[in-house]
Subunit: 342 residues, 2 copies
């Protein structure tokens, strides 16, 4: 009578125990794969679970374990980017793939303004996730510090500065950029301009540094009049190109820190009557779908975005399992894909 099959409500641990003729403890042990259960008891429980179609109530479990079995992927981005950046989609795919191996769930949180930031703070403060993945952080982003303070495991995709203390995974932006510029240099280009991303982001900064390094290797002093800063948008890339063309009409190559900006640059070059690649060679960064569709198709530095997603997830799961783990920093290689703009 006490634990009758309650109509309309899912079966509980208790019900399974009763059905299997064992105690709650035993059922719990079986369900959680804990050791110390006889084969007979295990079989009985498994049968009862199957018959009743029992699924543990996560809220009840969470209440006592204070785990949530979910992590958050936080994307702090101004409106525009998630739309255009295949990078985020790829990272999401990677995270999801890795998570599919576990029984953790993924919460997606877009933080676009002050209000959404407060919402996130509350959310994390309420311990609704076991860990946080932070994608695309800026130098002055308040989030990492906040998360550290809340002592919640956090892994970044990308880093704030070259000396990022938090665990993070990032593409070899510096090496990738340097490789692109070397490639241009090797093809005899001499006035190689660069369109950078925002310099308050490490990606922006590092890719510019790669451009510099490749020059320095050749004992050429990088000429800052060949540098224009933009914001990873197409329009920004276009404006930067216009700017560069005005300043340095003699330029014969451009390395853009993203495909989208490169696409903008391409448009501008065309309007100025410069032929690509004859007059000006162009290289982008990301090797995204955009690169394949420009005319001519864009040579681009690819980063292993999906792999970044997978890797940050793995690091985070490790840190959740053992918060005392030392922070880890991984750099993933980039690859240059030559198409027709060089």
């Amino acid at each position: 009578m006490s634990s009758r099959n309650r109509p309309g409500r899912p079966p509980t641990l208790e019900a399974v125990a009763q059905r299997a003729g064992v105690g709650r403890g035993t059922v719990s042990r079986v369900v959680n794969g804990a050791p110390g259960v006889s084969a007979k008891a295990r079989a009985a429980v498994e049968a009862a679970v199957a018959e009743l179609n029992y699924v543990p109530n996560p809220a009840a479990r969470s209440l006592v374990t204070s785990r949530t079995d979910s992590i958050a992927l936080v994307i702090p981005e101004s409106e525009s980017r998630l739309a255009s950046e295949p990078y985020f989609s790829a990272v999401i795919r990677g995270v999801s793939t890795e998570l599919a191996e576990t029984d953790m769930q993924l919460l997606l949180i877009l933080v676009r303004d002050e209000r959404e930031l407060r919402r996130l703070t509350r959310f994390v403060g309420a311990h609704r996730v076991d860990g946080v993945l932070l994608v695309s952080v800026r130098q002055d982003d308040p989030l990492p510090a906040l998360l550290e303070e809340l002592r919640i495991p956090t892994v970044l995709a990308g880093r704030r500065t070259p000396v990022e203390p938090l665990s993070h995974v990032h593409a070899d932006n510096l090496g990738g950029a340097a490789g692109a510029v070397r490639h241009l240099l090797a093809r005899g280009r001499t006035a190689i301009a660069t369109i950078t991303g925002p310099l308050d982001m490490d990606v922006g900064h590092s890719r510019l540094q790669g451009w510099r390094d490749a020059h320095v290797e050749r004992l050429v002093r990088p000429d800052e009049s060949l540098v224009a800063t933009a914001d990873f948008t197409e329009e920004g890339g276009r404006a930067a190109m216009r700017d560069l063309l005005g300043r340095r009409p003699d330029l014969d190559a451009v390395f853009a820190a993203s495909d989208v900006m490169a696409a903008g640059a391409l448009t501008e070059l065309r309007e100025h009557g410069r032929r690509v690649p004859e007059d000006v060679a162009v290289i982008g960064f990301d090797d995204s779908i955009v690169a394949r569709h420009t005319v001519p198709p864009l040579t681009s530095v690819g980063q292993p975005s999906e792999d970044i997603g997978r890797t940050i997830t793995r690091l985070l799961l490790d840190e959740i399992k053992d918060p005392a783990l030392p922070r880890r920093h991984l750099t993933l290689p980039t690859t240059l894909t030559c198409r027709e703009t060089t």
Copy 2:
């Protein structure tokens, strides 16, 4: 002594009650904005909440209310698409925007294979979400039926067939396609081919139907030799174009059911020496970033993807609030953006 400030653990309702000198019930009422609390008590509680930095434990709440305050966005897609389709990103943005108004959270679930489907089933069976948003369903998708059986509020973005019983929101695919074809007809094109999406998806089917309807309006019998089916990928679009060109070398226009396929078609046309738009006019669908970057820039039918995301969210929240609500079906308008391929 009984409820001392427990070091390292977040404050509980009980602690707040003690601090404010009221009972648990009162604190609960204040925190949940329930009526029937005196101004004085409310103020005392609010002060205590602020002092202790109290945040309710969602697991405990969920255990008793059996609500989770979160919804799932399920994207059943084969590997390739999430990468290339800005559509999904836009929908996600819309959902997120709408959710930001509430204190609901968004779970993102990618279902790419049988295993992930089982995982989702378990997950929904465990009542880990209050509702499900289902994007891009195929006719034979087992998910909608499953969700209906589990009696969990569900809203679809897109529909399975024109007589979809579940609540859903979709773009006016038929009207948009018909509009595109009319536009082509109006410009004097006479042999208008179409590259369709998979015909087991309503989007594929409806856009083809629009192509047919526009012909029928003009009392022209749609000629099926002008129809080629592809799979929304670039390569597929390209192959379909090749096919069409072989079958109907006289074609003078192509309506493709997605920008990505149109991009593939464009490449193929170029390789066959057809000039666009002089020899062959081309229209795509989605009006995505790809459309702006093809050469020449692609005329395309835009769908309000972000708005779709917002709308499905609103419908779902309503249905969660009142599951007895009748199912609703909304069609959102498309817009034709003319660029240089027509």
